[in-house]
Symmetry: C2
Subunit: 339 residues, 2 copies
Amino acid sequence: MKRTTQTKRTTIYDLAELAGTSASAVSAVLNGNWKKRRISVKLAEKITKLAEEQGYALNMQASVLRRERSKIIGMIVPKYDNRYFGSIVEQFEALARERGLFPIITCTMRDPALELEAARTMLSYQVDCLIATGATDPDRVMELCAAAGVRTINLDLPGARAPSVISDNYGGALALTRRVLANCEKEYGEKTPLLFVGGRGTDHNTVERVRGFRDAHAEAGVAFDETLVQAVGYAPEKAENAMRQLAERMSPLPRGMFVNSTISLEGVMRWIRRSGHYADRVPQLGCFDWDPFVAMLGDHIEMVRQDVPKMLEAVFGIIDSGATELTVVQIPPIVEKMG
Amino acid sequence: MKRTTQTKRTTIYDLAELAGTSASAVSAVLNGNWKKRRISVKLAEKITKLAEEQGYALNMQASVLRRERSKIIGMIVPKYDNRYFGSIVEQFEALARERGLFPIITCTMRDPALELEAARTMLSYQVDCLIATGATDPDRVMELCAAAGVRTINLDLPGARAPSVISDNYGGALALTRRVLANCEKEYGEKTPLLFVGGRGTDHNTVERVRGFRDAHAEAGVAFDETLVQAVGYAPEKAENAMRQLAERMSPLPRGMFVNSTISLEGVMRWIRRSGHYADRVPQLGCFDWDPFVAMLGDHIEMVRQDVPKMLEAVFGIIDSGATELTVVQIPPIVEKMG
DNA sequence: CAAGCCTGCTCAATCGATGAAGCAAGAATT
DNA sequence: AATTCTTGCTTCATCGATTGAGCAGGCTTG
């Protein structure tokens, strides 16, 4: 029996009436614990069939309102404009669904205010758990959630007050810098310091990457000064501006660079092409993050790919175990082969 | 007064008790229609202050359950692994929030079954409206939603039963093909047919793009046969396989190609580099979709960029106006300049 | 000064799903 | 035959926010 103009959605009460039974029986059948509630197989089948016919869809709002746990799991993420965050989100959804959880994701455009608003919205949804990915202020988010009794896990950027899963930024940067230094020496026979571009000087990841960058220089016996560290932000325009300004007061420019994310690389590459400063000799580049097309840009670019599958496994490991210790899990990134 | 171990979240009843007033007054104040309900400014301020102090967060479940409209707006999207869908999602969130709506997004991994499951989940959330982006079977999604009285809008791929917003695929493909043909003639002095790679032969966009592709050939007086249309799917591996197989039975290979999406381009480029088939003479390429790093890959690649801001404005135009006519809005894509 | 009006609230039903408690009828046990 | 068990349900309170209806007290108005 098809309804022509359906205004109201089918509820368990509608199904109960159609089946000549009670709403609670319908509820028990549809949410799967009808065996515990001793509903007969016959009635269960009847109700299931009816629900299908009527196109019944559970009202999550009502269900969650009543239940103790919502089974909703939230994630806030800065942007969707690169493969790193893109694959984080895809994996997150897949792993959440695998566990019968309902993932809700929202992006904050790297805006600290939006970050908190997003967290508040997540709390309104009654999330059981919130993953703060690349949050500018993960501790503030954590505080908000803690007040509502909601656990948080930090991803990509660590926080001081909740378990965190991040890349081994120091190790990755060390390996990446070594490679770029080696490439410079091979190509130009020079052992000269590299430039570090992109990221925020205030965030943990950038600090650690700079440390790896610095140590790789020291280890190779290459001196460099701090003006070569341009942690001017992630946005392409910021990286581009930094390059422009640097070129005005520095000559010759460094032979190679460590670019902190594909997003910053976008700006750096744009500047390189437009300014013509490197027209004679391509700079040796290293990028902390991976993108398939960057990999095709030429053999002068090395990349470090963060191990998203392992990172998310670690996140769900924490969720599944219910651990709340303030651990920081560091996942080694993958150093991509050139070409 | 800070609670040390908070198990229960603050509700309007808690606030009512603290303020010495009723829950309904608290509700009215916090949801903004306290003026209509003639609550005094004094009480309103008191309640607002208390709510802030207590870190009150609305329970969406309870609120939505009671209200007529949920103000939740859903979107299903195939993947997060390219700039096109990434910017669609970012824009969608921004425009939704601007209107006081709550966006919920989920990705379906191009899996038709997941697509329907996702739509069902959206219905459970009581979405007021669902945007089906790039859906394999938008009409099936529409049917599901219609049965629950929820309107749908198709984005990127059109459907027959709901308003749709798509790119002008024919026009974009025509312009792109013209350019690639012109580039081939300029570079190689040959007027030879191009190869079409990627996309699904069954989806509207691919059909339209192939039509534009064919018409551009006809217009240029270049004959081509249908074996040159390789609509083998979007995945990089599929494009790569198609190229490999083609190379086995065809020689010489076409001078240029029309690649249907950056995702397929990833596979095509990989094959080009690995196989060495084009080592002597780079093929002239055209890509229907834009990516900043592809733009840097060289001047042998032309791109057509879908106008995401305009597309989403059109979507929200339809939402705001409440229109339900079966219009198909076609947004002209932007033909990127080379370099 | 009675009738009506305005202000500033409170009361109670309601949304749909859930699950503890309870109950009727038949089966098994003593 | 009386008691206990088991099966297969139903009843009803509950989650938290919303909102129509209502009510008390002060203020106008004729």
